[in-house]
Amino acid sequence: MPSVCLYFEVHQPVRLNHFSVFDIGSANNTYSTYFDHKKNRAIFEKVANKCYLPTNKLMLDLIRKYEGRFRISYSLTGTFIEYCELFMPWVLDSFQDLYATGAVDFLDETYFHSLSGLYDDLGEFEEQVKMHRDMMKRVFDYKPKVFRNTEVIYDNRIAKKVADMGYQGILAEGAEKILGWRSPNYVYKPANANLKVLLRNYPLSDDVGFRFSSRQWKGYPLTADKYAQWISRSDGNLINLFMDYETFGEHQWTETGIFDFLRHLPGEVLKQGNLDFATVSDVVKRFEPVGDIDAPWAVSWADAERDVSTWLGNNMQVACFNELKELGKKLKKKGDPDLLYTWRLLQTSDHLYYVSTKGFEDGAVHAYFSPYEIPYDGFINYMNILQDLKQKAEQ
C-alpha cells in the first residue's frame, strides 16, 4: 500500500537590526545590537497565532479522530525553539502534546538552519547537528532517526557525513537532475553511503505550498478530495509531501480555505482505500532502496533552479558567505562563547536569502519573505555587521 509522508519545516530566523557603517566598531553587546528583538518577537507572535497554534490544534484533533492513522513529521530549528522558550512556551507545549500521541515524528537538522553543510570543512556542520540533537533530547527526550538539511540542501558529501553520524534516512528534493527519468515516489540510497533518501514529490507538494490560492492555476480551487485522488493515482509506493509549516495560515491565509483543506485531507486520503500515512521513521523502516542517487553538486527545494543559487547566486552573497566562513576560524581560535553564538545566529541561511537578486518569478517570493526593500540593503546591513564582528574577533 503506497504511503503518504507529510513533513513540515518549522523555522523562524533571528532578523537583523538596521546597522550602519557608522555603527561598525561602536557596538558593545553583539546580541542586543545586531538583532532586532522587538521585530522578531512581533513576527513570532503573529505567526504563532496565525499558524503554529491553530495548526497544531487541528493536527491534534485529526490525529485523535483517526486514532493514529494520520501521521506527520516535523523538524523544528534551534532558533524556533529559542523563540518558543523566550516568548511563548505554550507553543512548545502544543508540539509536546502532538509528540505524545505517538503519531508524530521529528527530524534533526542544523540547529541554526545554516549553510554549514556547504563549508569546505564539515566540522561546524557536525557541531550544529549535535547541538540540535542535544536540544531534541532535552525538549522531547527523543533521538531523531532521519535528518533534513537546511532547505533540503543535499549532496554526496552531506549524505556521507549524515550516514557517518548514525542517521538512517535523509530528505532531498525530487529534482530531475538527480533522478533523471526515475520517479521520486520510491526510497533511494546515496551512491556513496548507507542511508535511505526520501525524495520530495515537488509537483504535489507545491500544489499546496505555492499554488493553493492561485486563481490562475488550472487546479484552482484545490479541494481535499480532488487532491487525494491525484495522490492516489500516483505511481510508486511513497508520496513525499514536504513543505513549510507556515503554509497553513501564514503563506496561505485562513481566508483561502487552507484549514478546511487540511481538515478534510486525512479522511479523503484514507477513503481512497489504497493509501495510508507514514512518518519519516515509518518510511525508513518500511521501504528498501530501489536505486542510487548521485549528487556531486548540491540540490535543494528552493526556487525554480532547485540548487544553492538562492543563497550563493551573486557576488554579494558569495562575499558574505566567504567573510562568514573566515570569521569562524578566528572566533573558534578566540573561544569567546558569546561571540561564537552570535556568529552562529548570523549563519542562518535567511540572511543570505535576503541578498538574492533572482529574477521576477522567484524574486516575487523573495520579496514577500524579506525584511528589506531591495537585496542591496540586505547586503549592506549584513556586511556591516560581519565587519563589526570581525573587528571584535581580531581584538
Binding site: 550602519s20 557603517v21 551573486n314 557576488n315 554579494m316 558569495v318 540593503d377 556591516n384
Partner: protein, 370 residues
C-alpha cells in the same frame, strides 16, 4: 494621425531634459506612423529632421529658456513679455489640419489653449514639472501656477511623468484624476565604460529643489569613514553659497565645483564616477539617475523622485537622511561586490526605459482623445 507639438528647445539646441524628451518622443512617434509638426523658437542653427513625417518648424525668436525665473536679473523685466510674445506668435503660425495639439509644461500652455479653441481640436499636455517642484515647495510663483492650472483644466488629457507628479496635479491643482495618465520617462543611454576614479557625483542645477546642500552634509559624514572626492557639477543660484558651505565644513579640499559642463563633459564625468547621488527635495522624474546608471554608475536617489517609483536597482533614501545616504555611499565605495552587482543589474534594467515604450504609451493617450 497628425499632431502639432509645441516646444521650446530641441537638440542640438537645448539646455535641459525637456529638449531631450521632445527629441526622443517625436522620433519614437514618427516611427509609429504619427506625423508631427514640432514648433519651436528660431535658433542660430537651423534644425532639420531626418524623418519624413517629422517636421521642425521654427517661429520667431526668444531670449527665455524653460528653466528661467522671472526674478533673474539678466532678463530685466523682459521675462513675461518674451513668454507672451512667443505664445502669440505660435497662435498665428500654427495652421492646417491636425488631429490634436500637444504641449509641454507652462511655456506654451497659453498658445495651446488658444489653438485648441481656434482649430477646435483636443489638447494634450505633458507635465514634466510643476511650479511647486521648481520652487522646492517654498514660495511658489502664483503667475506660473495660474498658467499651469488653466492649461490642466482646459486640456483634454494630461500626461504626468510620474505618479508623484500625478498626485501633485490632483492635490495642488484640483484636477480630475481620470484625465491624467502616467508615462514614465525614457533615457538615451551613455555608451562606453571608463575606469572609476573614486568620485561621488552630484549633477544638476544648483537650486534648492535639487538638494545640493544635503549632498555636502553627506560628504562630510562619508569623509569621516572613507576617502573620496565629491564633485558638484552644474551651475545655479546656490553656486557661491555652496562653495562657502564646503569651506565652513572644512571639506573644501575634497569637493570640486565644476560649474556648467558641456554635453561631452557630462558623459565623461558620469563614466568616471563611482557613485551618483540625486538628493532632490522634489523631482518629478529624474532622468539623470538613468543616465548615470547607463554609464555604469550605481545610483542613490531621493524617495521624492518619480524615477524611484519605477527603478528597482538603485538605493532610495529620504533627501534629509544624510546618515543613510552616507552609509550607502561608504558601502558602495568599500564593498566591491556590491558595486559590481548593482552596476550589472541596474544597467540591465535601464534597457526597459526606451523611447519606443514612451511613444507607445503616448500614442495610446492620443488614441483616447482623438
Amino acid at each position: 494621425m497628425k499632431i502639432a507639438m509645441l516646444g521650446w528647445e530641441y537638440p542640438p539646441f537645448k539646455v535641459g531634459g525637456l529638449g531631450t524628451h521632445c527629441y526622443g518622443l517625436t522620433h519614437g512617434l514618427a516611427d509609429k506612423g504619427v506625423a508631427i509638426d514640432f514648433y519651436m523658437p528660431k535658433t542660430k542653427r537651423h534644425i532639420k529632421s531626418d524623418k519624413e513625417n517629422l517636421k521642425v518648424i521654427e517661429v520667431g525668436e526668444t531670449e527665455v529658456f524653460p528653466y528661467d525665473r522671472p526674478e533673474d536679473k539678466e532678463l530685466g523685466g523682459k521675462f513675461f513679455d518674451a513668454v507672451y510674445r512667443y505664445n502669440d506668435l505660435l497662435v498665428q503660425k500654427v495652421k492646417g489640419k491636425y488631429d490634436l495639439i500637444h504641449c509641454h509644461d507652462w511655456l506654451t500652455m497659453k498658445a495651446g489653449i488658444q489653438i485648441k479653441e481656434k482649430l477646435g481640436i483636443p489638447l494634450v499636455i505633458t507635465v514634466h514639472s510643476t511650479e511647486y517642484d521648481r520652487a522646492g515647495w517654498i514660495y511658489p510663483n502664483q503667475w506660473f501656477i495660474d498658467i499651469e492650472r488653466e492649461g490642466m483644466q482646459k486640456a483634454d488629457r494630461i500626461i504626468a511623468v510620474s505618479d508623484f507628479t500625478k498626485r501633485v496635479i490632483i492635490e495642488k491643482y484640483g484636477i480630475n484624476p481620470d484625465k491624467i495618465s502616467v508615462v514614465h520617462n525614457a533615457v538615451n543611454p551613455i555608451e562606453g565604460e571608463m575606469e572609476k576614479k573614486n568620485l561621488v557625483l552630484f549633477l544638476g542645477r544648483l537650486t534648492l529643489q535639487k538638494g545640493p546642500e544635503f549632498f555636502l552634509k553627506t560628504a562630510k559624514k562619508v569623509l569621516e569613514k572613507q576617502d573620496a572626492t565629491f564633485v558638484i557639477a552644474g551651475s545655479g543660484d546656490m553656486f557661491h553659497p555652496l562653495i562657502k558651505q564646503a569651506v565652513d565644513m572644512g571639506i573644501s579640499n575634497k569637493v570640486i565645483f565644476t560649474g556648467k559642463l558641456t554635453e561631452e563633459e557630462v558623459k565623461h564625468i558620469y563614466r568616471i564616477s563611482s557613485v551618483y547621488v540625486m538628493p532632490s527635495i522634489s523631482e518629478p522624474f529624474g532622468i539623470t539617475a538613468l543616465e548615470a546608471i547607463s554609464a555604469g554608475t550605481p545610483t542613490i536617489v531621493s524617495k521624492g523622485s518619480g524615477v524611484s517609483e519605477v527603478l528597482k536597482n538603485c538605493f532610495k533614501v529620504d533627501f534629509w537622511d544624510t546618515d543613510e545616504m552616507a552609509n550607502k555611499i561608504v558601502a558602495l565605495l568599500r564593498y566591491h561586490p556590491l558595486h559590481t552587482t548593482m552596476q550589472e543589474y541596474s544597467k540591465k534594467e535601464i534597457n526597459l526605459f526606451t523611447w519606443d515604450r514612451v511613444a507607445d504609451k503616448t500614442k495610446a493617450v492620443y488614441d483616447g482623445v482623438k
